[in-house]
Symmetry: C2
Subunit: 360 residues, 2 copies
């Protein structure tokens, strides 16, 4: 013992602490991190239809880590030439309408015809824990074990734009992996139906038949978007109600001007539970796809959708840049107060705000 | 004569040309230009309800001359504290529905009640010659000679945004000049109904009754905007049809969810030609104004509208700046070609475009 060690300030020699992770565990983690396959392997595997790599690539798309995003973009760009060769079907309906049961029956019907079916979801309310729809794959027990089906829950995210972009990119990867039918499900929170409508070729609205008043409570704009309304759970005592609902929906649809492709939206009746009506629905969709492909509308719509996404991405970003500027944030608050006090016009206020960014 | 003047290239001395304008005319023009009243006179006269100066100020608002715009802004800013104290009513309907006759009958009814009525119009299709609606004031013979009425045709312009902004500013001037009821008419070209709906307190859709199928051909979204549907020309043999139409419109309106202020849009029947139903329509509107004023919705809606105009002006301008950049124009064209050829995604293309402005 030295003299110093006798001081009250001296420290006792400590006992060595146990490591928080075992060396073997740490090595395993390091190994698995190092093990992430190179981009070329991702691309090769996805184009060969490997679902594990497809799933991992979608995880990269959904990641907020810039390195992951970069890798995701490389994979995506390599896959683009092999994408776009599918039929994209959007399905919406309120909770309880039987979306999962319907998608399972519809998906099984398609795989039975030799199709490869990917089911994606857009749910901006879904939280980080992979949320409210499609989160529980057990809801589609049969489809989930079907080797020609791929089911993926909604990406999580706070903005619909972000969630929608990830889903749109995932569609392309699924197509590159050989999926020829893409189903995009949405619960219809906020504007999510509009987002899904803008990424699919055919938009299907699932409804229940009730005791009349079928059209009450349908969200504004949904009927205009629907290429078909399917009245689900048309079984047992409900068959009669479903038929009445069909008449009422048909009447309502006729109130709207015809779509720009000349298609008159069809009202169909189905029981996903008893697998009835499913084949007719697929025939109708095939008929739609054939007609619109022949008329050139199918490709035109896809081009229009791509342009829509291009412009909406740019416009959102322009606004983000502007409104997130701290100078603008302050000034905007003041100008809104002036507006509410009747001290300025919206146009004067706008000019003040726009000019203040020119100066900065 | 000099030597030079003999050259073939020499010019003969010309005869003096007569002046294109007589000196007295030129002086008169100079005088009238110099004579434009100072801004303070404009403000004073407008606040005193002088229609000539109101009209001239609106001409300044509509002018594209920067000096005029500056003067218009000064006038407008001085008038703002006296504006906003009116009821603003939007009226739309297809050509032939009898808008002019209706507005004349309605306007006369209001001036008869001691109101001061300004009638403005939004018609983005109207050309430089003061176009298609309200251009011909003889269509409202009685109202035009009424000293408590002010009728102004649509400002001309190529963009709806521009036309709408000018009309919105004109509303404020009319209010400052003491007009307590502002009627904004639109033919409903493009999105003009949406623009008018966003600047009025009450939106009225004029319709005709026909031989059934009343709802066919109504533009998408109009019914959602209407606070009332008035079936016009309910006279003579048409009375029965009008009543049938009323039932049908009422049924259709019930298909929509209630408005956020709880108001159930009313279907009314009128004959502007025979002056029947006009008083009931005004009572209904007054009732609406009273109810919404008491509930606070009236002011909330005006605040929301002002914010809407603030943000839409900014957002339009952000887009104008971006897409009018020559670098962006070139690149956009290329990226759209890539998109159509399936060589890129909308999101990649958008990022390329956005990054290219960061660099410049």
């Amino acid at each position: 013992m030295t003299k110093d060690s006798k001081s009250n300030l001296s420290e006792k020699e400590g006992v060595s602490q146990p490591e928080t992770t075992s060396k073997s565990s740490a090595n395993k983690i390091k190994l698995s991190r190092r093990k992430q396959a190179p981009t070329s392997t991702f691309i090769e595997k996805i184009l060969a239809g490997d679902i594990t790599f497809l799933s991992r690539a979608i995880t990269l798309i959904e990641s907020t880590n810039p390195k992951h995003q970069e890798k995701a973009n490389e994979i995506l760009n390599a896959c683009i030439p092999y994408a776009n060769k599918s039929i994209r079907i959007g399905i919406t309906g309120v909770p309880g309408v039987g979306k999962s049961t319907f998608i399972e029956a519809f998906g099984k019907h398609l795989t039975g015809l030799g199709k490869k079916v990917a089911v994606l979801a857009v749910d901006p309310s879904s939280s980080i824990n992979r949320g409210s729809i499609l989160g529980d794959k057990t809801r589609m027990e049969q489809l989930v074990t079907d080797k020609n089906a791929f089911i993926r829950p909604s990406p999580s995210g706070t903005s619909l734009g972000g969630v929608a972009q990830k889903t749109k990119e995932s569609i392309l990867l699924c197509e590159a992996a050989g999926f020829d039918t893409i189903i995009v499900e949405t619960v219809g929170v906020g504007q999510s139906e509009t987002a899904v409508h803008a990424m699919v070729d055919f938009f299907l609205l699932l409804k229940l038949s009730g005791a009349g008043d079928e059209l009450q409570g349908i969200k504004r704009g949904i009927i205009e978007m629907a290429d078909s309304i399917v009245i689900n759970k048309a079984d047992g005592d409900n068959v009669k109600n479903a038929k009445i609902a069909k008449v009422e929906f048909n009447r309502a649809l006729h109130l709207y001007p015809p779509k720009d492709n000349g298609w008159q939206p069809k009202v169909m009746v189905a029981s996903a539970l008893h697998n009835s009506g499913i084949d007719d629905i697929y025939k109708m969709i095939s008929n739609y796809i054939q007609t619109t492909t022949e008329s050139g509308y199918f490709q035109k719509r896809r081009n229009d959708q791509n342009k829509h996404w291009l412009f909406s991405t740019i416009n959102d970003q322009l606004k983000n840049r502007f409104y997130n500027d701290p100078v603008i944030k302050d000034l905007l608050e003041r100008e809104i107060k002036n507006l509410e006090a009747g001290k300025t016009t919206p146009f004067n206020a706008a000019n003040n705000l726009l000019n203040s960014t020119n100066k900065s």
